[in-house]
Amino acid sequence: MSGLVADRPTPGPPRPWSFPKFERREVAGGRVITCHLPGKPLAVISLVADAGAVTEPAGKEGVAEIVVRALSEGAGPYDAYGFAVAGERLGATWRSHTDWDSLRCGFEVPVGDLVGAAELLAAAVREPHLDEPSLLRVRDERVDEIRLDQSQPGPRAGAAFGSAVWAAGCRYAVPDGGTAETVAALPPDDIRAFHVGGLQPDAVTLIVVGDLDTVDTDAAARAVFAGWIGGRAGTATTVPPEPRVEGRRVVVVDRPGSVQSMLYAGHDGPNRRTPDYVPMTTMALVLGGMFNSRLNYRLREDKGYSYGAFGAFDTRRDAGVFLARSAVQTEVTAPALADAVAEIRTMHDGGATAAELEQARSYRAGVFPINFAGPGAVAAGLADLVVHDLPDDHYDRLRQEVLDVDLDAVNAAAATRLRPDDLVAVVVGDASAVVDELRETGLGPVEVLTDEG
């Protein structure tokens, strides 16, 4: 076609970018981070607390998520419905979230109503009713939700993977949101106790992001912190994470008639503050973090086994995991798993090429401004600084480290952080169709679990 331009354009000079400037200060005794993003009429006001799943007592897995949901089920002068309507009439969307290392809640709200949203947030965290009928309803709804969630192959594989990788008794062996059994067994008093222990003024940080030109952020912060007399923040006594020692093996969760197998394969890994964080995660991009990564290329673009294949490290505050995953059609379960493991081993043995590293480096450095495009993403990034105790210039420094990382460091991370001989593989699928072939892969003993879901 003669009308097309044959030569690929050469890019102009890169334009400068840095993580948005933000300010840390203390208002009414509370820690506050504000970040002015001009031209963003929807703001985020969010509270982050050191009350994630790892701070849950043994046997109470999932209580953090129950607490954060119960906050909006009646607080201050509002009953559950009144609280919902009060926020929504401001155009404010309540968002709550828990993960391994934090509990977060707050609103996305038009900037003009930010102070009003702060008042509602204050009621939720300081004066939640936590009355028995509401707590029981939230708890039982959550049990139903977990069952619904676990009926999907991905979440079921994730739960099986956690308990296959981590020793029984350590928190990571149970999903961060708990199981239907642990949540169903939570008494209201334990839910209230976790609220008191986890949400105290000296254990939370308020984050406000958006076009704050016309917003009195001090008033918003005072609404949250002024007069909040804390009790004592709970001291989390977490069991140090400890991987299981059985070595490599395959766990099949049997779902007769499945037309696909959900594959999860990996092992434990380092925490967020590991010194080789940048080379390790850059290596993982080459292996499974981009469309042209080795895992996706092999399983999707080369073999057509799957809609997609991924691999990444999940670095938590105490430890982490390396996980490769893909949903593949049942007939090719064993060869697909073998291919994925072979890619992990090849990366472990030989590392990345210079060209792959260049692509991963420029991709990762380039997407910073795209990933931090709005108030929600910036607020989440700021919360991560708090959770992992990272310096204020972290993101700019991280981007520079990404640009500077060299092949030796990346390949050293491949050799030490990938452990193909320790892989645990979980397969959620039709056991009768896949077990014999899985045994022949030599990926370790194959154990079949009846699916309780």
Binding site: P16, D113, E145
Partner: protein
């Protein structure tokens, strides 16, 4: 607490049409050094021929497999190396392709889009087709066939529109049709539908409008217009289904779940605007009627965020209004369904001004959220220009929808949320789902 009227969107834009018919929307936004490029082709699963369902979407996959000057892996490779993100999607009324890149790589994205708009056939081969056919079949397995309740979407398409209507099949299509798709089909589809005069290109971000238009002319200007496209398949149909269509679907699922779909006027009509607000009053957010009654008061429904109802933005003949009702464990599914119908039909009896205020505020925030990123805005410019020829609707649509009155909502509820106009799908847990599904 005073409610402050939120700022309505007022995004700048220009619309130009190249000599070959390509419509180009450019909207400057200098808040971050990024640019979003988005192309909508006015072709979707609605334009597929009988026996070739799923083809528009399969074809979208082939658009990532190289073109005249672009190697098989280069589309993803070059955008990734530029530090950008990209993807494509297909639905009934469209196929879209998009990249978000650091702004100094804008021309790379334009060059890639132009090359496949004008030169796909040079790279299309049997190997690519066979590979992507398997990928798409696995996409169907992953998103439908191997998911609990995964059949619901196809069933809505089959039963909410009459036989032969272009929306009567879903975008993913059937395995048999995917298997039957040939290289000849792919060439024919491209030659029929893919051309500059059947596309809208939107560019939003840290760009200069004049320089961007010059670049667009450079890369796209030489692609010849096709001049004519097949007329849209006929889409006229009765305004209502005329009866209740009810199906019970045994499936391997943990709890019963009811989906209700109503036929209603398409996106672009005043009735659709009113139904958008009705969806929020009835089933959007935790201040909605369904959450209050079925979640809080009666414990029958699982909907932790209160989001129960939605509308699909289809434009040909009629679209649907959907309610998704998963039962609480132990709840009686018949009681849940009956309670739902009573509340949904109750909208016809009237809506309070307080409910309307809440719905308007929720709708405004959702729309602002949607437009907050350059990629979301670029997609919306492309969408509204493709469907209605008017990029200005990015700013004008919201005020129009906010003018919907309580009376409008009651009226559309009366006319469309009614027993003789609904498809009811009841999923029930079955012992042997293999035979059931």
């Amino acid at each position: 607490m005073l409610t402050v009227v939120p700022v309505l969107p007022d995004y700048p834009y220009t619309l130009h049409t190249l000599d070959n018919g390509l419509r180009v929307v450019v909207s400057e936004d200098h808040l971050a050094p990024v640019a979003a490029v988005n192309v909508w082709y006015d072709v979707g699963s609605r334009h597929e021929s009988p026996g070739r369902t799923g083809f528009a979407h399969l074809f979208e996959h082939l658009m990532f497999q190289g073109s005249t000057h672009v190697g098989r892996n280069d589309h993803f490779g070059l955008i990734s190396a530029a530090g950008g993100t990209l993807n494509g999607t297909t639905w009934c009324d469209r196929t879209n392709y998009y990249e978000t890149v650091p702004a100094h790589h804008l021309e790379t994205a334009l060059w890639l889009e132009a090359d496949r708009m004008g030169g796909l056939l040079d790279a299309l081969d049997q190997q690519n087709l066979d590979n992507q056919r398997e990928v798409v079949k696995n996409e169907k397995r992953q998103t439908r066939d191997n998911q609990p309740y995964g059949a619901w979407l196809d069933l809505v398409h089959t039963h909410a529109w009459p036989k032969g209507h272009p929306y009567q099949h879903s975008t993913i299509g059937s395995m048999a049709d995917l298997d039957a798709a040939s290289l000849e089909d792919a060439r024919g589809f491209y030659s029929t539908w893919y051309g500059p005069d059947n596309a809208v290109l939107s560019i939003v971000g840290d760009v200069d409008t004049d320089a961007t238009l010059a670049a667009v002319r450079r890369y796209f200007g030489g692609i010849p217009a096709k001049g004519a496209y097949p007329p849209s398949p006929p889409s006229d149909l009765p305004a209502r289904i005329g009866e209740e269509v009810r199906l019970t679907v045994p499936d391997r699922v943990p709890v019963p779940r009811v989906f209700v779909a109503y036929r209603c006027p398409p996106f672009g009509t005043p009735e659709f605007d009113a139904l958008e607000l009705a969806a929020i009053v009835l089933g959007g957010g935790r201040g909605c009627r369904l959450y209050k009654s079925l979640v809080l008061d009666r414990g029958l429904l699982q909907a932790p965020d209160g989001d129960v109802t939605s509308t699909w933005p289809f434009v040909a003949g009629a679209t649907v209004f959907i309610a998704d009702l998963p039962a609480r464990e132990g709840a009686d599914i018949g009681e849940l369904e009956a309670a739902y119908h009573e509340i949904a039909e109750g909208l016809a009896d009237g809506v309070t001004e307080a409910e309307m205020e809440r719905a308007r505020a929720v709708h405004t925030s959702m729309w602002l959220h949607h437009l907050a990123t350059v990629d979301g805005r670029a997609d919306t410019f492309s969408q509204l220009t493709t469907l209605f020829g008017d990029p200005g609707l990015v700013n004008a649509l919201l005020p129009r929808q906010l003018a919907v009155t309580a009376g409008d909502v009651a009226k559309v509820a009366r006319e469309y949320l009614r027993p003789d106009n609904r498809v009811v799908l009841v999923f029930e847990p079955a012992e042997n789902a293999e035979e059931a599904a």
